[in-house]
């Protein structure tokens, strides 16, 4: 440890003390942050998401019974991501796209050799052959059920990218079709925008839900939420697979 390390330690401890003060609910610091677990949800914006009454429409939501609620997703996190704050999500997948494009730009052409000198062992190859379709199926399941169960486009896309990574680990000469990936990505991103524009045309605001919501808790419900989440899943899966491919072939 040199002098600089001690100085860094000192600064970090002071900064930690300041951050700790901000989140200490026992001190009145004007930030209105409660102690851990003592949050009163009725004082927060989220209570409107939970009750689905942002437009002062509905009162009681019952699983498998309520028809056409304000946002049809049984998973509240999904209803926020793909409906109430879908514009934020559009921005976030744009950030993801820019990061993936920047990575491809920095690393240059992707026709170089794989990082691995030889194929993995026979057992690994057979294991990947069995696991790959199962993992792919799991990813699709997570994406499609994003409005009913934990999961959705981001998680399912990550699972699909993991399946692709297994292929890369097992086969030395495995190559992804980058043109196809780009087409998938562009299709998903443009469709997301088109869905938003259709909402703008029919209901007067960008990314509005213009389809019927159906009964909450059924697979074919929640209007545009599953469609948007499937598009996000395609985009995230394609982009993360492209990132993996670019990094392995760098």
């Amino acid at each position: 440890m040199r002098f600089r390390d001690y100085l860094s330690l000192f600064l970090v401890i002071i900064l930690g003390f300041i951050i700790f003060q901000a989140f200490d609910g026992t001190i009145d610091n004007g930030l209105n942050i409660k102690q851990f677990g003592e949050v009163n949800l009725s004082e927060r914006t989220s209570i409107h998401y939970i009750n689905k009454d942002v437009n002062n429409e509905s009162t009681q939501i019952i699983y498998n019974e309520s028809k056409n609620p304000e946002s049809g997703s049984a998973n509240y996190v999904t209803s926020i991501i793909a409906n109430y704050r879908a514009l934020d999500t559009l921005g976030e997948i744009t950030v993801l796209f820019i990061a993936a494009a920047g990575l491809a730009f920095v690393l240059g052409d992707h026709n170089k050799n794989n990082a691995f000198a030889s194929d993995a062992s026979f057992i690994v190859k057979i294991g990947v052959k069995i696991l790959f379709p199962l993992l792919f199926l799991l990813g699709i399941y997570i994406i499609i059920h994003g409005h009913l169960t934990p999961g959705g486009g981001f998680q399912g896309g990550a699972v699909i990218a993991t399946a692709i990574l297994l292929k890369f680990l097992a086969y030395k000469d495995y190559k992804l079709n980058h043109t196809g990936l780009t087409i998938l990505e562009s299709f998903a991103g443009i469709s997301f925008l088109i869905i938003g524009l259709i909402g703008l045309y029919t209901d007067g605001s960008f990314l509005t839900n213009f389809l019927a919501n159906g009964t909450i808790g059924t697979l074919f419900s929640a209007g545009v939420i599953p469609i948007i989440y499937i598009l996000i899943g395609i985009k995230v899966g394609a982009e993360l697979s492209g990132i993996i491919s670019n990094l392995i072939n760098a």
Partner: protein, 120 residues
């Protein structure tokens, strides 16, 4: 135990952020700096999620066992924000690693004090 219950999440995630910051400040190896940024990222995500926790709260999903909106759900908003932040964190780490790969190809070193123009 009460102290642990109260501070394990918020305090622990703040400590994770600080460990990452300390790593960024003191490490000389570029890969270690990138890993430190990843640790900071994790700490911020944990801090955000723990701000939405409610004692005895349920996961914010309507199911057959939790069928109505009057139940004690935890705050879904930080979870939605963190969900996207995790994926973006992965993409940012990948971008940082690609820059590190290029630096290694051009300079044959990962130590920041051996890089030309960054001598300390």
């Amino acid at each position: 135990m009460a102290f642990l219950n109260q501070w394990a999440y918020i305090g622990g995630s703040i400590i994770l952020i600080l460990i990452g910051l300390f790593g960024v400040l003191t490490r000389r190896n570029l890969i270690k700096i990138v890993v430190s940024i990843g640790i900071m990222d994790t700490g911020v995500n944990l801090l955000l999620v723990s701000l939405g926790y409610i004692n005895g709260g349920l996961a914010p999903i309507l199911t057959a066992t939790n069928p109505t909106n009057n139940l004690n759900f935890v705050d879904p908003l930080p979870q939605a924000l963190v969900l996207t932040a995790i994926v973006i964190g992965v993409a940012i780490l990948a971008l940082a690693l690609s820059i590190v790969i290029k630096i290694y190809e051009n300079n044959n070193t990962l130590q920041i004090d051996e890089l030309r123009g960054l001598k300390l």
